[in-house]
Amino acid sequence: MAERDCARLRELAPELALGVLTGEERAEARKHLATCPDCREYVLELTSVGDSLLALVPGAEPPLGFEDRVLSRLGISAGQQAATTQPISVAQVAAAARMPQPQARPQPKPQAQAAPVVELERKRAQRGARRWLPVAAAAVAIALVFGFGGWAMGLNNQGGQGSAAPPAQVVATPLLHGTLLSADRKAIGHVWAWPGKPSWVYMDIEVEPHTGMSVTCQVQQADGSTVTVGTFALSNGYGHWGAPAPVGTGEKARLLDSDGAVIASATLS
């Protein structure tokens, strides 16, 4: 009986995958898919074929002014536009995740908690080469290192009547963050860590420039053991880097100079 159901599904699967199966046949197919992983996989493969077909459709130049109208629709001021040939650091996007955007009239901040971070921002602002933007740290850092979790194609797209919104998949694992503090409690960077699978760390750091300086990242785990994650180079005192790493809440990340001296550490929370 099951084999006959699978055979029937194989008949319907191409139309289902292309989103053009309707009525009773669609209900029949979906009912079978709910209990048959092999047929689900088959439909997913066919859905992939349908998606690849779209890549064969030739591109076409949109009408003049399209770009401006899109930006306007997104609520992004055309006045903010700048030449796109200017180099931009990837870390500008990622590292700025939790940085407040510079304001015309800076608001006083509580000195007790924010002083190290404010100092770091001030230092960066003096460099003037980077723009700090308010973004979602989790989303950006994950994307930069491993990609986001979850736009579901395939079975979610087999409704037959078109499903315009990209289906969402909630990433439940929270992103951890810690400010990298030097021995004299100055903020010299940030660490983000994601304790999911695979777990990873991403960081940016800015120190006094030393030519050819490289730093080593270690994670101090809850059981007291230390794991060396890797070494990366700084350019003009600045660098950003990410790698797979065993991390969890309450653990510490620390950076060592080439002599093995700890130059900064951060508690992840």
């Binding site: 998606d51 077909l53 009408p63 899109v70 986001f148 736009w151 990209p166």
Partner: protein, 211 residues
């Protein structure tokens, strides 16, 4: 097979390179990085993102709708959806371009169905099919799965190729294809199924060879 889909791949070399470099031009950022940057609301990143994908997105929309005004609306909505949903993009499930074109396609099909418009002009179908089989952009797809699909669709019998384009691009049902072609419903369904089975075999075969 399923576990392979669930496996999280190593970061692509391009993303890895981006992370390790400093001061690279924004145009050279990986697609995924640019999409992530879109969430910042920064105009410079948004412009770069739109410029990179607008031809692809508008091309799909205008192919389905056949109307530049409606197609622009769909293309704009596509970028708006991408901006709103950037955080749920999953690179494991496909490229940014594939994600965007899928959104654009779904929106365009929704619009066609909502307007109950004639889904396709016979001349446009022939033109589109010809371009898909022998597109000047084939060099650009040479490294994608669609490159294999391009070869496969070119070898399909013409009636099967038409059927799969009508269903897969124009979103036409078996009944609509049967009416359009003046053939029995069963024949329309058979053509779709035969075409899709062959196209799937071309992609699965390539994956097997690559693996």
């Amino acid at each position: 097979m399923h576990s392979e889909r669930e496996a999280i791949p190593e970061p692509s070399s391009s993303v890895d390179d981006d992370v390790s470099r400093i001061g690279i031009p924004i145009e050279r950022l990986a697609d995924e990085t640019l999409l992530a940057g879109l969430a910042t609301g920064d105009a410079e990143i948004a412009v770069a993102f739109v410029r990179r994908f607008q031809r692809k997105v508008f091309g799909v929309a205008v192919a389905v709708l056949g109307d530049p005004v409606l197609a622009e609306d769909v293309a704009q909505q596509t970028f708006e959806r991408a901006w709103q949903h950037a955080a749920v993009f999953d690179a494991r499930r496909g490229s940014v371009a594939a994600w965007l074109t899928t959104i654009a396609h779904n929106l365009a099909i929704d619009m066609v169905r909502a307007r109950r418009a004639t889904p396709v002009d016979p001349a446009e179908l022939s033109t589109l099919l010809g371009m898909m089989v022998d597109t000047p952009e084939r060099q650009a797809i040479a490294n994608e799965a669609s490159g294999e699909l391009h070869k496969a669709i070119a070898t399909l019998p013409h009636d099967q190729a038409r059927a799969v384009v009508m269903a897969g691009i124009y979103g036409m049902t078996g009944n609509e294809i049967a009416d359009f072609e003046g053939i029995p419903l069963g024949t329309a369904k058979t053509r779709i199924r035969a075409a899709m089975t062959k196209l799937r075999a071309s992609l699965v075969g390539k994956q097997a060879n690559d693996g």
